[in-house]
C-alpha cells in the first residue's frame, strides 16, 4: 500500500475505499487506535483498589484497574504465557488476576506474581523480567478523571493532543455543583454493520436530524401533552421536537467548531433556558439553586451559557455535557462497530436530574430509542451503498469555501451545516495513517 494516505482525500471529497478496505482498517487499528490518545474510561468506574473495568482499545482487550496504591493502570487483558484473555467479566474487584489456562497470576499492575510449574523453561526465561507481564499500555494519562491511553511511546502529551477540547470535559465537570461526576446508570451497547468512522461523521452533522429523524419529530410533535406521564421522557420529547427545527435554525443559530487532531463540537444548539424551560421546571430550578450556592451567581450563569451539544474527541469518544452522556466507539471490523453509551451523575445535583439523564438516554440514544434507531439504519445503508464503485469520491465539501479560522488553532464552519468537522477528522486520519500524529494531514498541506 502506497504510504501517503492523503491520496484518499481531494478538496471537499473523500474516497469511499477508506470505509470498506480491510487492509486500511488493519492499519487504523495500529496507527489510530494504537497511535492516538484513545479514551478508556472514567476513574469513577474503578473506585477502590482492585476495581477493574474491562474494555477495548480498538480491538485489543484491555483492563483499566486501580492498583493497591490507588493508581490507575491500563494493561492488556492478555496472559504472557500463551496469550489467553485473563479477565472475562466486564467489571469487578480482584486482589490479583489469575489466568484460567495454567494459573499464571498477576499483580494489579500486570506484573507477574507467580508461575506454577516454573521449571523446565529455557535458561533465558525469567518470570521477574518486566516484559513478561500483562503488558501495560505504553502511556496512560487522565484529564480530570477521564482516562486515556496510547501505544505511541512518544508524541504529544494528552493535554497537548486534546488542545482546546479540554474545555468540553471542563464543561461536564463544571455542571456538577460539587465539582465531581460519576459514571452511573448502566450502559447501552449498540451495534451496526458499517465502518466506525461513519458514527463519528454523523454526531455533529446538523443537516441530518430534520430529515433522518422525521418520524420521531412528527410523532413527538403530534403527541398530546395530556396523556399520562410519570415525568419520564419530558426532556426527550422536547428534544425530538427540537430536531424538527427548520434548516434556517441550523444555518443561523447553531455553530460547528473544529480543533487540531480531529476534535470538534456542535455548539449553541440546546439552550437550557428555552428547552429545559429553566424557569418552569422545578428540578432545573433546584439544580440552578444548588449550582449558585456552590459557585455563585456569576459563575453559574457562565456555566449554563456554555451550550455544547456533541463534543467529538477523536478517535473514539463523544461527550454530551448538557445531558451527561458519553459514547465510546469500538471498531470490530471494517464493517462492524459497537458503541457503548454511558451516563454521568452530577454530584450535588438533585436526584431527579440524573433520572432525566437516564430518560433522555432511553429515548434519544438508546438501543430501542425513537431517535438512534434511524441513525443506525443510516450507517447500515452507508455500508450497503459504499460497496458500489458507482460513486468513488464522496462529497464532504459543504462549507469548504466559507469555513473560517478559529482562535485556538482550529477552523469553524460559517454555520452548523458545514462539513468542516468531517474534513477536520479526515485530516487527522491522514496524519495518523501516515505514521505521524493528528496534524499534518491534507488540510494542513492545503493551507500551507
Amino acid at each position: 500500500m502506497s504510504k501517503d494516505f492523503s491520496r484518499f482525500l481531494k478538496p471537499g471529497r473523500v474516497h469511499r475505499q477508506i470505509y470498506t478496505d480491510p487492509a486500511i482498517f488493519e492499519l487504523e487499528m495500529t496507527n489510530i487506535f494504537g497511535g492516538a490518545w484513545v479514551f478508556i474510561g472514567h476513574e469513577s468506574q474503578i473506585k477502590k483498589p482492585g476495581d477493574y473495568f474491562a474494555t477495548q482499545m480498538g480491538r485489543r482487550p484491555i483492563l483499566m484497574v486501580r492498583d493497591e496504591e490507588g493508581r490507575v493502570r491500563v494493561i492488556h487483558n492478555q496472559c504472557a504465557h500463551r496469550g489467553a484473555m485473563v479477565v472475562a467479566t466486564d467489571k469487578g474487584n480482584a486482589p490479583e488476576f489469575t489466568c484460567c489456562y495454567h494459573g499464571w497470576t498477576y499483580h494489579l499492575d500486570g506484573r507477574i506474581k507467580g508461575v506454577p510449574l516454573n521449571h523446565g523453561y529455557p535458561a533465558d526465561f525469567d518470570a521477574k523480567n518486566p516484559k513478561v507481564a500483562m503488558n501495560p499500555v505504553k502511556r496512560v494519562k487522565s484529564y480530570r478523571g477521564f482516562v486515556f491511553a496510547t501505544e505511541a511511546a512518544d508524541g504529544p502529551d494528552l493535554e497537548e493532543s486534546l488542545g482546546y477540547m479540554t474545555t468540553s470535559f471542563d464543561d461536564l465537570l463544571d455542571r456538577a455543583p460539587d465539582g465531581e461526576i460519576e459514571v452511573a446508570g448502566g450502559v447501552f451497547k449498540h451495534g451496526y454493520d458499517a465502518n466506525w468512522k461513519v458514527y463519528f461523521e454523523n454526531l455533529c452533522d446538523a443537516a441530518h436530524p430534520l430529515f433522518v429523524h422525521r418520524s420521531s419529530i412528527e410523532a413527538s410533535q403530534a403527541q398530546s401533552d395530556d396523556a399520562h406521564s410519570d415525568g419520564t421522557g419530558e426532556i426527550a420529547v422536547r428534544q425530538m421536537r427540537q430536531n424538527g427545527a427548520p434548516y434556517s435554525f441550523w444555518e443561523s443559530q447553531v455553530g460547528i467548531w473544529t480543533y487540531p487532531n480531529g476534535h470538534s463540537y456542535l455548539g449553541d444548539y440546546h439552550d437550557d433556558s428555552k428547552l429545559v424551560a429553566a424557569l418552569k421546571d422545578p428540578v432545573f430550578r433546584e439544580y440552578i439553586a444548588a449550582l449558585e450556592k456552590k459557585k455563585g451567581k456569576e459563575e453559574t450563569k457562565r456555566i449554563l451559557e456554555v451550550r455544547r451539544w456533541n463534543s467529538n474527541v477523536y478517535p473514539n469518544v463523544s461527550l454530551m455535557s448538557q445531558f451527561q452522556q458519553l459514547r465510546v466507539v469500538h471498531p470490530i471490523s471494517v464493517n462492524r462497530t459497537v458503541v457503548y453509551t454511558y451516563n454521568f451523575k452530577l454530584k450535588g445535583a438533585p436526584e431527579q436530574m440524573f433520572r432525566n439523564t437516564v430518560a433522555f438516554a432511553n429515548i434519544v440514544n438508546g438501543t430501542g430509542s425513537l431517535v438512534l434507531t434511524d441513525d443506525l439504519e443510516i450507517y447500515n445503508r452507508i455500508d450497503m451503498g459504499l460497496s458500489s464503485d458507482g460513486a468513488e469520491w464522496l462529497q464532504i465539501g459543504r462549507g469548504y469555501q466559507s469555513d473560517q479560522p478559529e482562535a485556538h488553532g482550529g477552523r469553524k464552519g460559517v454555520n452548523s451545516t458545514s462539513e468542516v468537522y468531517i474534513r477536520n477528522m479526515l485530516d487527522a486520519w491522514v496524519g495518523y495513517m501516515n505514521g505521524g500524529h493528528g496534524q499534518g494531514g491534507a488540510l494542513a498541506k492545503a493551507a500551507s
Binding site: 450502559v187 451497547k189 418520524s215 406521564s229 433520572r355 432511553n362
Partner: protein, 187 residues
C-alpha cells in the same frame, strides 16, 4: 421502485378507543382472571404485535399503563438505570405513532415478526387483577436477516369495563445486556 411520497406524511393518531374484544364472547367483568383467560390474553396480544396492529396493542394498556424492557437482568427500576425501552403512556403513544410513519427509515422495509408465547403462570391474583409470567420466542425478520429474541414477560392485568387491560408489562430479554443492533419492534 419506491412509492411516491407526499412531502409531509400524516401519521394517524393512536386511537384511545376501548380494548379490542377477544375473539368470541367477551368475558364478564366479574369473572375471575383464571389461567385460561390469561393465556388467551397473551396469545391475543402476541397476534396483534405480529400483525403489526400496534394501535390495537396500545389500546390494551390502561391509560396510565407502562411498558418496560430492562437493559440489565434483575434491573430494579427503570429510573436509575437505562432501559432498552421504558415508556409511560405518553412515550408509548409516541412510539406507536412513529411506527405508523412512512418516514421511519429503520422500518423501511418493515420488520416481520413471529412469536410463540407459552408457559403462562399466574404469579399472584386478586380475582379481578393478576400478575402473570410467560415465556416468549420472537423472531424478527428484516432485509434478509433474522434475529431471535427470547425471554420472560410479566404482565399486570386488570379488568375494566368487561375487558382485560395491561397496567404494566415488563419484558426480560435473555440477552438484554448484549450489544444489540437497533430495536424497533415492541416485544
Amino acid at each position: 421502485m419506491a412509492k411516491k411520497r407526499t412531502p409531509r406524511p400524516k401519521i394517524a393518531a393512536p386511537s384511545r378507543r376501548r380494548v379490542t374484544p377477544l375473539r368470541g364472547r367477551a368475558p364478564r367483568a366479574e369473572q375471575a382472571l383464571d389461567i385460561h383467560r390469561c393465556e388467551q390474553f397473551v396469545q391475543h396480544e402476541a397476534r396483534l404485535l405480529d400483525e403489526a396492529k400496534f394501535d390495537d396493542w396500545l389500546a390494551l394498556f390502561t391509560l396510565d399503563g407502562w411498558y418496560w424492557v430492562p437493559s440489565e437482568p434483575d434491573q430494579a427500576n427503570p429510573h436509575d438505570t437505562v432501559s432498552l425501552m421504558y415508556d409511560d403512556r405518553r412515550l408509548l403513544e409516541t412510539r406507536i405513532r412513529r411506527l405508523a410513519s412512512p418516514r421511519m427509515y429503520s422500518q423501511e422495509p418493515r420488520s416481520r415478526t413471529s412469536r410463540m408465547v407459552g408457559n403462562v403462570t399466574i404469579e399472584d391474583s386478586e380475582g379481578r387483577a393478576a400478575t402473570i409470567r410467560s415465556k416468549f420466542i420472537m423472531i424478527e425478520y428484516r432485509r434478509d436477516q433474522q434475529r431471535l429474541f427470547t425471554g420472560t414477560a410479566w404482565h399486570r392485568l386488570v379488568q375494566i369495563d368487561g375487558g382485560i387491560r395491561i397496567a404494566w408489562k415488563r419484558v426480560d430479554l435473555v440477552n438484554c445486556d448484549a450489544a444489540l443492533d437497533g430495536l424497533t419492534q415492541p416485544f
